[in-house]
């Protein structure tokens, strides 16, 4: 069964939300729908499920790694070669707190940043389905459906206020 990928462009959130509801009715599951927008649109508005993200987990992982690295710097490296300095503990705890904090934060921030890259598959310069109008505030819904249902869905969406519904084609952004 061949599939078609269609892309419907809407002026506003409401018609887009309706369209998505309609699509659900027409048997297009959430897995086969994606929405592209120029501003972040809350999933509830469109009646979409909460999109999963690993970013927070990665942040946490980064924080732990950073903490461990801080531990290594402050409590490990002095043991690699011992240099005493006046009136200080060899591996002092209060200054260690600073090292631990900074390293934890640095690694957490780096991991978060990288998390965005990993989760969003950045950077990606491959041709992708996209319409430039999205950055003008339009909302694009693109979905996969069976080839034979494409026409029907197109008509339905047009009725719901889609500015255009057309087969999505991957192009160079």
């Amino acid at each position: 069964m061949s599939e078609a990928t269609l892309l419907a462009v809407f002026e506003d959130i409401d018609p887009a939300a309706n369209a998505i509801e309609k699509l659900h009715e027409l048997g297009v599951t959430d897995e086969n729908i994606n929405v592209i927008s120029g501003v972040p649109v809350a999933h509830k508005m469109l009646g979409r499920p909460h999109p999963p993200t690993n970013v927070s987990r990665l942040s946490m992982g980064g924080a732990i790694a950073g903490f461990l690295f801080g531990l290594f710097l402050n409590f490990g490296t002095p043991h690699l070669y011992n240099v005493p300095v006046g009136g200080q503990f060899f591996t002092p705890i209060p200054p260690g707190m600073i090292i631990l904090f900074e390293m934890t934060m640095l690694f957490a921030l780096l991991a978060t940043f990288l998390g965005v890259f990993l989760d969003s598959d950045f950077p990606n310069y491959q041709p992708m389905e996209y319409v430039a109008e999205v950055s003008d505030g339009k909302i694009a819904v693109f979905f996969r459906c069976a080839q034979q249902e494409a026409l029907k869905i197109t008509e339905t969406l047009n009725k719901l206020g889609a500015e255009s519904v057309r087969p999505a084609e991957a192009r160079q952004l």
Binding site: V85, G86, G87, Q88, F89
Partner: protein, 258 residues
Amino acid sequence: MTVDLNLVGAKGAIAEAAEGKWGMSIDQDICTGCQACVAACAMENNISFVGEEDAGYGRSQHWIRIERFWEGAYPEVKATPFQPMLCQQCGHAPCEPVCPVFATPHSEAEQLNLQVYNRCVGTRYCANNCPYQVRSFNWRDYHTIPERGNMVNGTLVFPLHNQFNPDVTVRRRGVMEKCTFCIQRIHKAQDKAKSEGREVEDGEFTTACAQACPANAITFGRVDHPESLVSQLTHQKRGEKHLEELNTLPRVTYLKEG
């Protein structure tokens, strides 16, 4: 005596024994301020002179300087006793922990405050944190200022460089330096004693400043040996240490009048 710096306890407890190892006493009552120590130090330690302008702007490189203040007004005016000020080789040195690259660590063997020129990157934090203000910085390559050399067959030669003490590093620009208690002499004496299978004797060697001092106001030796001359002088009633209240554990004792 080595101190386990990993001991857990009050911060003061991990400081060295207040005594130290090598120490100095300076008798201000007989110091005549003659600058022989300053010259001797410069000659021994390859200290560069900086010229009139920089010297007047606080860039002189003296490792030891002689301070003098005034009390009263004419005719009852009095110059305060000359006070040679040099690195106090603190047991609890404020300069040491602030260096990011361990360029001024503490030597456990000598219990001295080292300055490792080749590690120094020139943040100058140590000098800021030194309450005695006895560190000097190489603001430029004073030794190789072209005006100090002669052109010989197209090459610049510096006759004054012949005088360099091979035991002491010649510092380049961007490096902090300070009195080392003539650590090169300490080492020489220690190794000589070791090869002869004995301890270094009191008075066997001394620092350049103490050696030159015509008044014998400077005495150098082991402050942890009660029978040594310096230790006996140090424990006189008129002995006083500078800024002791900062808990720096200075190793130089000043003997006052009286």
